[in-house]
């Protein structure tokens, strides 16, 4: 029994998610190998080799893998997967894109967003925007699953795994045209200890500056509700919720966010939740550890001065 973890990286460095997915793999109890697939990804592969408890790091390094396209990655991983009992990836946009393809090619079902390991074939995952937790037993010979990384603590980087080069190069049917990634000095949403999140009430992209000032003072990341993203105040990758990013920071400050089921699904496992809203009936207060009924345009600048 060996588990294969698909690494998340940008060729230069490993994303924090990978160390969390390895923690999930260790909870399953099998040996753990990591696959790093990319283009000029040697640096990321050597970081993966340091992850605690990893036996081997498989490296598929080719220009065909530069943009993380699902069809050729799916074929590559399902081929390698023949040797593994479990195949895990983070429930990131890459993992969600590629892993179902892998499962279908292997003729097995997939488990999405696993948050707990009960045994080597039984896992817990949220359904209905986290309003129910389903314990599911996989009856398939191979278990293919995406892992909600916020539910696991990263393993340490004190290992020394063997690097194994794979020569298989599979071309994609898809051509990459362009990419625009949000540039930010702030920590990544999935990885931040503090998140300051804004909703429709911010009313403009300029007004988000007051949240940015608070986030920066706390060394935190910026998040948003769907309404704020749809209105174009902030880029799409800041959306927190059922269909955006799922986060569980030490501190989540929800500002001018009503607390719709779909938003709560993305943040209700945060350790401490603060809600600032001028409507005392806003549902967000039901999940908040500290609620403040106030106009955000007064409260946020004042709070920024005090922290």
């Amino acid at each position: 029994m060996t588990t294969l973890v698909i690494a998340e990286h940008d060729n230069q460095s490993l994303k924090a998610d990978t160390a969390k997915v390895v923690a999930c793999a260790q909870a399953i109890g099998a040996d753990v190998d990591v696959l790093v697939v990319g283009a000029n990804c040697a640096a990321a592969a050597s970081e993966a080799a340091k992850l605690n408890g990893v036996s081997k790091v498989l490296v598929a390094d080719a220009s065909a893998y530069a943009h993380g396209l699902a069809d050729n990655l799916g074929e590559l991983i399902s081929g390698i997967g023949a040797d593994y009992s479990h195949i895990l990836a983070s429930a990131s946009s890459l993992g969600k894109d590629v892993l179902p393809r892998v499962a279908a090619l292997l003729d097995v079902a997939q488990l999405s967003e696993v948050v707990e390991v009960k045994s080597d074939d039984t896992f817990v995952r949220p359904v209905y925007a986290g309003n129910a937790m389903e314990t599911v037993q996989s009856l398939d010979a191979k278990k293919v699953m995406t892992v909600r990384s916020s539910a696991f603590d990263a393993v340490a980087s004190d290992g020394n795994a063997e690097l194994v080069t794979l020569d298989t190069v599979i071309e994609s049917q898809v051509s990459f045209e362009s990419q625009s990634l949000t540039e930010s000095e702030r920590p990544e949403l999935g990885n931040a200890a503090v998140i300051v999140s804004g909703g429709r009430a911010l009313a403009s992209s300029e007004n988000f500056a007051i949240l940015e000032a608070l986030a920066d003072k706390l060394g935190g990341a910026l998040g948003a509700s769907r309404a704020a993203v749809d209105a174009g105040f902030v880029p799409n990758d800041l959306q927190v919720g059922q269909t955006g990013k799922i986060v569980a920071p030490d501190l989540y400050i929800a500002v001018g966010i009503s607390g719709a089921i779909q938003h709560l699904a993305g943040m209700k496992d945060s350790k401490v939740i603060v809600a600032i809203n001028k409507d005392p009936e806003a549902p967000i207060f039901q999940v908040a550890d500290y609620g403040l009924e106030a106009d955000l345009f007064d409260a946020i600048p004042a709070l920024t001065k005090l922290v």
Partner: protein, 249 residues
């Protein structure tokens, strides 16, 4: 060009569901049901492509109980031309659904298949990708912009760090994200017209697919409750609590 849009009947997005008393399932009896919001976005996109003259026929398909025909009618009221209902009271995992849809695609030979990226009940986010793999087609998931030209489709995708644009030869599979479009409301005359549009009912067996048993649900439980919090009276009190009580700043 023909487009296939698979859709799903789910509990309405505004309903907060509860787990049943014996912790075996979510209680869906007597709840308001609707077309999955992402599927609705997929239908809308197909209709817009038809209005733009790119698409000539929109086929919607669903796998589900008799009542799921309501969702096919909703899709036809938005502008789909005909429906295929694979009638079953069994609930299937995404892989089995993808196999059924693949059998439909084998018959239909659509040049574009647009699905919602996830259904808001199972939150699986798998079916489109699995269908693409089984049909050996390229895929573009989490689409926020689609344009078809010269036998190819360009799709802008919402990815973790921002946006990515890729180009696929047709036929291809696309899964719709929230910002792809804002679905229209069906007008009354269109709702009436939809009742007369062709709707075929078929069985899983008649499609000739063999489905396995892949997963067993052991239990369904409510999520952990958060402990009730407190309201603070001022920004000063909030800052103090965060520093000295919660110790998070």
């Amino acid at each position: 060009m023909k487009v296939l849009v698979p859709v799903k009947r789910v509990v309405d997005a505004n309903v907060k569901v509860r787990v049943n008393a014996d912790n075996t399932a979510v209680d869906t009896a007597n709840l308001k049901m609707a077309i999955n919001p992402f599927c609705e976005i997929a239908v809308e996109e197909a209709v817009r492509l038809k209005e733009a003259g790119v698409v000539s026929e929109i086929v919607v398909a669903t796998v589900g109980p008799k009542a799921a025909q309501e969702q096919l009618r909703t899709a036809m009221a938005l502008g789909a031309d005909r429906g295929i209902h694979v009638e079953t009271d069994d609930s299937y995992c995404a892989l089995s659904i993808a196999k059924i849809l693949n059998a439909i695609q084998t018959n239909e030979q659509a040049e574009l298949i647009i699905l919602g990226k996830q259904s808001i009940d199972g939150d699986n986010n798998q079916t489109g990708q699995m269908l693409a793999a089984l049909a050996k087609l390229p895929q573009a998931t989490f689409a926020s912009e689609v344009s078809v030209a010269d036998g190819a489709v360009s799709v802008t995708r919402e990815i973790d760090g921002g946006l990515q644009t890729i180009k696929m030869p047709l036929p291809a599979v696309i899964t719709a994200d929230l910002r792809l479009n804002e679905p229209r409301y069906a007008k009354l005359p269109n709702i009436m017209k939809a009742k007369r549009k062709p709707l075929d009912t078929v069985s899983v067996d008649s499609l000739g697919v063999t489905l396995g048993e892949h997963q067993k649900v052991i239990s369904v439980t409510p999520p952990a409750e958060r402990q009730a919090g407190v309201m603070v009276g001022s920004v000063e009190e909030l800052a103090d609590k965060l520093k000295n009580e919660a110790k998070v700043i």
